[in-house]
């Protein structure tokens, strides 16, 4: 039995604005086991970053407020913790890597000082020991001359180097879960490959879990053990990486997969695309949020929100098509990537 590290139950988060209430997260449940990588996929505005920031306790309230739900970390509900107690979790248990390394590092502080701040606070180390740990971490993330980087200001480093500094900072206190919010979106592909490899390497070394938020399905395929697909504040489908890529059930997942140009697809052929844009979360539509863009939309879809339906062991989708009364629909051709012949090794690794 895998060890359940974090479980989110029916989380609802809203923002109060002058224009009204925005329902950013509408009943999200997922869990993270020890040592696994969970990828949360979705387009901008689907609530993936907000869910993550709620877990970290980083959302300013007001305007944000948590309407409902529980967040259990090692069986304790962290939503009930005071700000003081949360400080223990942030950094020690949860750490976060942000998308934009330029704005998330303090530009007026040297890299080393920023790193030591967290280390002295969370690990009760002296300043000298903290410095040693910081330099060690900078070395671990593959920065050449860690001593030099320690004394530099963020703006003198390149984007890839800054992202490494952020990872070093995040893992300095050996967190249980590393949250990565679009960690490589601002980077070039070659730098992205280096950073992803580094994250995988560190995950193995420290046995921590990773929650990866991204919209790039290629990155997801490379990193994730399990995947949750989010749309308009809800998780519409979740399952293992192989289930989501090779046996997707939700039309939105089909659309996401189809929108990716692929080596199998004919050059210049029309890409499968989802018409329209995501719904306005000021007033989420009645029924399924995806109904307006879905080509398989039925009457039931506009009336009632589809329940979570189990498709296979560990594979869930919110879609009326999975209801036994619905007609069976096959995903459009060319959308699903072809699985390669799985070797025994891969099955044992848990991808099977």
């Amino acid at each position: 039995m895998e060890e359940r590290l974090l479980s989110i139950e029916n989380l609802e988060v809203s923002f109060h604005t002058y224009a009204g209430e925005i329902h950013a997260v509408r009943g999200v449940s997922f869990h993270v086991d020890k040592g696994e990588t969970l990828a949360i996929v979705g387009e901008s505005g689907c609530g993936k970053s907000v869910s993550m920031q709620t877990i970290m306790g980083l959302l300013p309230s007001p305007p944000a407020f948590i309407k409902n739900g529980r967040i259990l970390y090692k069986q304790e509900d962290i939503l009930k913790k005071t700000d003081r107690e949360m400080e223990h979790y942030r950094g020690n248990e949860f750490a976060m890597i942000f998308q934009d390394s330029m704005t998330s590092l303090n530009p007026t502080m040297r890299v080393g000082k920023q790193m030591c701040e967290g280390i002295t606070k969370h690990q009760k180390q002296s300043r000298k020991q903290a410095r040693e740990i910081a330099v060690e971490m900078l070395k671990n993330v593959g920065l050449p001359n860690p001593e030099q980087v320690y004394c530099r200001y963020p703006h003198t480093l390149s984007g890839g180097q800054r992202q490494r500094v952020m990872i070093a900072m995040a893992i300095a206190c050996k967190p249980g879960i590393l949250f990565a919010d679009e960690p490589t979106t601002a980077l070039d592909v070659t730098m992205q490959a280096q950073i992803l490899d580094l994250m995988n390497h560190l995950k193995k070394q420290t046995e921590s879990s990773i929650v990866l938020v991204t919209h790039d399905l290629g990155v997801v395929a490379r990193m994730a053990d399990r995947i949750a697909v989010m749309y308009a504040g809800q998780i519409v489908e979740s399952g293992t990486a192989r289930q989501i890529f090779y046996e997707p059930k939700h039309p939105y997942t089909w659309g996401l997969l189809g929108a990716m140009p692929d080596t199998d697809k004919q050059r210049g052929s029309e890409l499968y695309s989802i018409p329209g844009t995501p719904p306005d979360l000021f007033a989420p539509p009645e029924g399924c949020a995806f109904a307006a863009r879905c080509e398989y939309c039925m009457q039931a879809c506009r009336k009632e929100d589809p329940p979570e339906t189990k498709a296979a062991q560990g594979h869930m989708a919110r879609c009326w098509l999975l209801d036994e009364r619905a007609i069976s629909v096959e995903p459009p051709e060319g959308v699903i990537p072809k699985p390669l012949a799985a070797t025994d090794e891969m099955v044992q690794e848990g991808c099977g």
Binding site: V189, I274, T277
Partner: protein, 318 residues
């Protein structure tokens, strides 16, 4: 008329960054684009691909080299001549938030080019043309009285496309036209661009860092590295049989949306970072990161040479 709509030879664009430092953004770049095809220009940020695009439409003045557009050298044109040229050559920009004037309505943005080039005889004709363009890119005609901030990123990019199409151009430079958009919106815009290419007989220079999208849309592809083209060829050939060590590394780094493939294949990891284009040394720009670098690579800049069927590579070891 020649087969090529655009012929660029030995194009150079330098920026002076200090008393003794020169940033060689584009250093001796040559390529041709055939009528009706799409040339994909790929490379990492800072490699000079955007500068190439901007120099072609004369946002930047080239420092050296010739740009033949429809047989005319546009690099030495005066203002009046180049105005006529810009009518046939348009650009779609990367950032749909920064490239639309926030004080203009959508109708004014699209109509500005029509006014400058006196393409409409009267007000009615102008209005009709704007409605027609909005319709072509999938926007509603009522949108013409709205301002850019009222639109989503995908819709703004459609406005950018309508603006580019307004003057009936023959050639469009798409500078990272889809990289700021969400995946499902990217597919919509790409489909739109491909359809216009067919219907309006357009030629594209498609500048992007998303290699899988470039593979999908381009007839031919050129790979840039620190101001120079290191490899170019038919898209299929280049992607299936990359010869330059940089292209090999770049292609191998692209994540593919297929978990079995991702876990199964070995990646060629390129260590280090892209060197600075300020005062580059004499040798191959890639020598510092190349697995096969020899003495010669550090001393002598390799020239593009044809290895068959229009596949060009600039590497000493090929």
């Amino acid at each position: 008329m020649s087969d090529h709509i655009l012929e660029v030879s030995s194009l150079k664009k330098y920026f002076r960054t200090g008393r003794k430092s020169i940033l060689k953004a584009v250093d001796d770049v040559s390529f041709q684009i055939k009528r009706g095809e799409t040339l994909g220009l790929v490379g990492e940020s800072g490699c000079g691909k955007t500068t190439v695009g901007r120099t072609l439409v004369r946002i930047y003045e080239p420092d050296a080299g010739t740009i033949l557009f429809d047989g005319q050298d546009i690099s030495k044109m005066n203002k009046k001549e180049s105005r006529e040229m810009t009518r046939r050559m348009q650009m779609i920009f990367q950032d749909p938030y920064a490239s639309l004037n926030a004080f203009y309505t959508i109708g004014e943005i699209i109509g500005e080019g029509l006014d400058i080039h006196h393409l409409c005889r009267n007000k009615k004709e102008r209005e009709d043309r704007i409605v027609e363009l909005l319709d072509m890119v999938g926007l509603h005609q009522d949108h013409r009285n709205r301002f850019p901030h009222e639109f989503s990123g995908g819709q703004r990019q459609r406005v950018g496309i309508a603006r580019a199409l307004a003057l009936n151009p023959k050639f469009i430079v798409c500078d990272e036209a889809i990289s700021a958009l969400d995946v499902s919106i990217q597919a919509q815009v790409i489909n739109l661009l491909m359809r216009f290419q067919q219907d309006l007989d357009l030629t594209y220079l498609f500048i992007a860092h998303d290699l899988s999208m470039v593979r999908h849309i381009s007839t031919r592809t050129a790979v840039m590295y620190v101001g120079t083209i290191v490899e170019s060829g038919e898209t299929q050939e280049l992607y299936n049989n990359p010869l330059h060590p940089y292209t090999q590394g770049l292609l191998s780094a692209v994540p593919v949306a297929n978990p079995d493939y991702e876990r199964g294949h070995e990646r060629i990891l390129m260590e280090g970072e892209v060197p600075s284009p300020i005062n580059p040394g004499p040798g191959c720009r890639f020598a510092g990161r190349c697995r096969f670098a020899e003495e010669r690579c550090r001393m002598e800049l390799p020239m593009l040479k044809d290895v068959g069927a229009g596949h060009m590579v600039a590497c000493h070891s090929v």
